[in-house]
């Protein structure tokens, strides 16, 4: 589902509250580079606390919900 190389997007809790989750996700998914932005064809969502409303994912198409707040999105108009 994920490419083996390159840059993908990342969304999670905003601000410093979500930094640790972001860093850990980057560590887990290396050698992929996770840009903390949804402006990529593939975006990983990580919300270990609580999922935000669906409106927050505007423009993102949910490909798969892995549970525990881990989501995989695609976008068609990214770039």
């Amino acid at each position: 589902m994920l490419p083996s190389r390159g840059v993908i997007g990342y969304i999670g809790e905003p601000g410093t509250a979500g930094l640790a989750d972001y860093y850990l996700t980057q560590y887990a998914l290396a050698p992929l580079v996770l840009d903390r932005s949804s402006k990529h064809p593939i975006v990983v969502g990580n919300f270990p606390g609580s999922l935000p409303s669906a409106a927050s994912f505007n423009g993102l198409h949910l490909e798969r919900d892995f549970g525990n707040g881990v989501l995989l999105f695609t976008t068609e108009d990214a770039n």
Partner: protein, 485 residues
């Protein structure tokens, strides 16, 4: 067992290199302990450089490359390390009947070592992925990119993830990745083992260098002070790069002082190899962290300042200031290959660092007195607490001891001793300047890094302290402890 082959290929070339560079008039097995502990750090450095070059040159047969490096050093040793017919045992560590004080120190050392080992192993088991953010957000993350990235390993130094400090040098990540290549997967065991090995190698290096230069009492005292610094053990098991950096700083300081000691005892140029090893240690320090580059500048500046002030009068007859400058050549020549690699990394791979903003902002901060006051306050606070001692901060005890007893009159400070002492002070001043101009919130930056910067210099400080102060020991190794050249 899986660790045995890469560990051998890591340590053996380094041990051969150290033996190759050691004074020829020394018996091959002299200073064995010091050579072994030096080999741990140098081995990691060589392993790191070899792996990084294999990535740059797209060499996939890593075992052959490692065997080639081993063969190169072995052949060099056999060709160039011909034993002198006048082998001289220059070690000052002669035996003497153990007094009650020595026995007490030995027991205290054993207890401190046991407690430190227990604490380190328990912490490693509790935090197998490192304790603190830097382990997984910088060092081990870079190692994963180097190991898993294949042809795209440079992605790990992308400006898209500036928080991972992609401008940091990669001695530690590349060494970890090299070991992982032998395992075939990125096991957390490797960073754990490297952290433990280097922590106790630093203690061993301090012990063995002091033992040669000042005798067993100084060695035991120095090792006890380092082992009973709680934050040193904690940092060593955190999988940060500060501990490897402190190893290379201590190796530089110890080897420079040892060179002066040997040069005084044997006036031939036999000990220039020690200068070359010191240069290599400086290079590896710069390949470990950016502070290593600052340390290099501090050593060079201190050397020129000490020479310029002519505080030290040459003891070797006929040795001029020019001769002392020429002694810099082996240091710089040995450091040069690694420094070139650092320069290549900085210019061709890493994005610009994050500490230097535009000139106007830097000047504005430099002219802001409250920033100086803030850093001074934190320096004073950290002086008392960076080691996280429970009762009395050890630096206070050491300072009190120094002011009460002064420096040992029988200890003529060598040129390198003075250089290293000034270099550590200059490094502290350099850290100070960086805090003044930091683009980050100054209190945040001080809070999360100053204790580690102090710890980088701590083993070298302990070494120089016990090299210079009077000790309750007579008749052994105190005639020329710091080298009198």
């Amino acid at each position: 067992m899986a660790l045995a082959l890469p560990a051998f290929l890591c340590l053996a070339p380094a041990f051969l290199l150290v033996c190759l560079s050691w004074p020829r008039r020394s018996p091959i097995f002299s200073d064995l302990l010091l050579k072994l502990f030096l080999s741990f750090g140098f081995g990691l450095g060589i392993f790191s450089v070899v792996f990084f070059l294999s990535l740059l040159l797209h060499i996939t047969r890593l075992v052959l490359l490692d065997l080639g490096v081993l063969a190169l050093f072995l052949v060099s040793l056999l060709l160039f390390r011909t034993r002198s017919s006048h082998a001289v045992e220059t070690t000052t560590n002669t035996t003497e009947p153990a007094s009650w004080f020595h026995r007490l120190l030995a027991v205290a050392f054993a207890i401190a070592l046991g407690a430190a080992l227990y604490a380190a192993v328990m912490r490693t088991l509790a935090y197998p992925n490192g304790d603190g953010w830097d382990a997984f957000s910088i060092w081990n993350l870079h190692a994963r990119f180097l190991f898993l990235g294949g042809l795209h390993w440079r992605d790990g130094f992308s400006p898209l993830i500036p928080w991972s400090h992609p401008d940091y040098p990669v001695l530690l990540p590349a060494a970890i990745a090299h070991f992982w290549a032998y395992f075939g997967h990125d096991t957390p065991t490797i960073p754990c083992v490297i952290g433990l090995a280097l922590t106790f190698s630093t203690v061993g290096l301090l012990f063995s260098a002091l033992s040669i230069l000042r005798g067993r009492t100084a060695a035991l005292l120095g090792a006890i002070v380092l082992l009973t610094t709680p934050s040193f053990i904690q940092l060593g098991t955190s999988q940060y790069a500060d501990e490897p950096l402190s190893f290379f700083m201590l190796a530089t300081v110890g080897l420079l002082c040892l060179h002066d000691n040997r040069a005084q005892q044997d006036r031939s140029n036999d000990s220039f190899g020690l200068l070359a090893l010191a240069g290599l240690a400086i290079g590896f320090a710069a390949w470990t962290k950016n502070e290593g580059l600052l340390f290099l500048c501090a050593i060079l500046m201190a050397r020129f300042v000490v020479l310029a002030r002519r505080e030290h009068r040459p003891r070797i007859s006929g040795e001029s200031g020019g001769a002392r400058f020429s002694r810099l050549a082996p240091v710089l020549l040995a450091a040069a290959p690694v420094l070139l690699l650092v320069i290549y990394f900085k210019h061709a791979i890493a994005p610009p660092g994050d500490l230097f903003s535009d000139l106007a902002t830097i000047v504005h901060k430099l002219l802001s007195p409250p920033r100086y006051w803030a850093v001074i306050k934190w320096y004073v606070k950290e002086f008392f607490r960076f080691g996280r001692w429970l009762l009395i901060p050890v630096p206070v005890l050491m300072l009190g001891y120094y002011f009460a007893l002064g420096e040992a009159k029988s200890v003529p400070h060598s040129f390198s001793f003075r250089v290293c002492r000034l270099a550590l002070a200059l490094a502290l001043a350099g850290y100070f300047a960086i805090y003044i101009i930091t683009p980050y919130d100054i209190y945040w930056h001080l809070r999360f890094s100053l204790d580690r910067l102090f710890l980088q210099l701590w083993p070298s400080t302990i070494f120089l302290f016990f090299l210079s102060v009077p000790l309750p020991e007579k008749g052994r190794g105190s005639a020329t402890p710091a080298g009198g050249s």
